[in-house]
Symmetry: C2
Amino acid sequence: MQNRQILLKSRPVGIPQPEHFELKSASVPEPKDGEFLVENHVLSVDPAQRGYVNDENNYAPPVPIGAVMRAMAVGKVVASKCADVRVGEFLYGWFGWQDYCVGTRASILRRVDPAQAPLTTAAGVLGINGLTAYLALHDIGRPKAGETVLVTAAAGAVGSIVGQLARKAGARPIAVVGSDDKGRQCCDEYGYAGFINYRQPLEPALRTLCPKGVDVFFDNTGGEIADIVIRQMALFGRVIQCGTMSIASWVPPPTGPRNDREILTRRLRIEGFVIFDHLARYDETAAALATMLKDGSLRHAEDVRTDIAQAPQALVDVYSGRNNGKMVIRLRWAAVDDRWSQLQRA
Amino acid sequence: MQNRQILLKSRPVGIPQPEHFELKSASVPEPKDGEFLVENHVLSVDPAQRGYVNDENNYAPPVPIGAVMRAMAVGKVVASKCADVRVGEFLYGWFGWQDYCVGTRASILRRVDPAQAPLTTAAGVLGINGLTAYLALHDIGRPKAGETVLVTAAAGAVGSIVGQLARKAGARPIAVVGSDDKGRQCCDEYGYAGFINYRQPLEPALRTLCPKGVDVFFDNTGGEIADIVIRQMALFGRVIQCGTMSIASWVPPPTGPRNDREILTRRLRIEGFVIFDHLARYDETAAALATMLKDGSLRHAEDVRTDIAQAPQALVDVYSGRNNGKMVIRLRWAAVDDRWSQLQRA
């Protein structure tokens, strides 16, 4: 039994490319006391991974050169010397881009009930993406009925959920996307009331679609789009700083127009959101989202690839918007999934 | 009886200078139904006045050319055709840089009890400056015991109060000032635990005085100082955007390093504060501050000038830091003040 692993080969500046990684095979490790061995089924591919490998200002130390690429994954416990982790259960945690991972309790983000929803959802709509959408929108954005909620990367794994949750709250979500196709998808499937293709002039489009200004700005991209949106915020608007995908590199520090005066005169509240601060609320939030999935009121899309060797390219694709929904690498198929595919066919 | 008035003569770009104003004399107007006539005793001089005359992004339309300079003032009602405004009472409101003003109920910010504290305090520590310090620090900053609170323009009318209130909350206030003299004043009189002269390299001074980072940044200046402080914030730090005094001009829009990534990774909350949003809480807040003045636990400084013709220069002095505490122009002396000066001499 071999353990295929994607290792970080060299440190990228800006967006990591396939040449910064290499695929190697190692032996499957043995868990020691307090540890367990997980067999990964679904690897997560996330924009935040760029931050894990860059030597920039981040919320965690960078992945060392030669180490397995840091990633979340959903896996099945196949051996355990950890008191409260049982063989056969499914976990969502820091298991890396590899087949097998030895973990400890600290590696676990959430225990996954495979009867709750298909396994891939645990890495996406019921994983950090859906949890981020739900908690950041409600904690920071607090959209009220009739308010306008503008979302960047709106067709993405987070944005597609934000639109639907904003609509459920009675607000008017507007999508910012990189293509008209994605914009139409946002309106047809994700509850958005309109979309702006950021390749067109943004300011007039904003004035047309958000005539009373933007009350809640759910920002996944930062940069020049955010510069323009900030200047179209309504009084007492809330800005959720959730990601900076549009900034190619933080070295040297990029500059932009100063926002001090906008923040003051518009009485804005800008707040950074990192989902890993909210671990204690994952289960209740995932349960709320799972209920919406079951009753059909929440849609989600997954871009499922199956070859571990393609993980680095999948990350590049996420950064260039060449994904359709949450990007995951599906390594193996669990018996429990058969029931879900039967349900979906029914 | 003449009404001396400071009129706006031409529209400044950046900080207004004396040549943008002129002193003229007009006749004293008569109040109509619903109006009252106030005789100004104390004129307020505030950094925010620059925003009132600039044609920039602001929270109120600019003062028209030829109009009386917009300003807050404390005055005595000398005639009234307004049902609930009595002759003889003192008001704090939008009465302009002039001797006499016809006002309506909408011009009143707060009714002043001259027995509560000396009249000048109504324009400063019990006026928007003290109210701003109290409400912005507690609403947005929410300093906890042991936290570090960094304050720019710390020796000013707002900053001098913030330091003392932060200290009362058990936090550790650090002053950012433009001279060592002001810094020593902050430490000796306003409760600050240390000071940084911003004319010295800021980053090493911050690392020394705020080794665990800045938890609350009460920012009255914006600009390059803020750029450096943002990068020294502690996780979950709060930034109160209360003023942008250090920015010489907003036309063309000045640029600076992008803060998106700092906001995200440090989970900052940045919020704009404008005191005029909180009118309903002025009385209770002023009463709380007046209690501290009476029991001697709150100090304040006033820079009192007496010539209305000097008002424009006084504003320039505020911008260049050549003031010592709250800048006011004292036009006349009320009988009620005699008691306070007797008390102070006692």
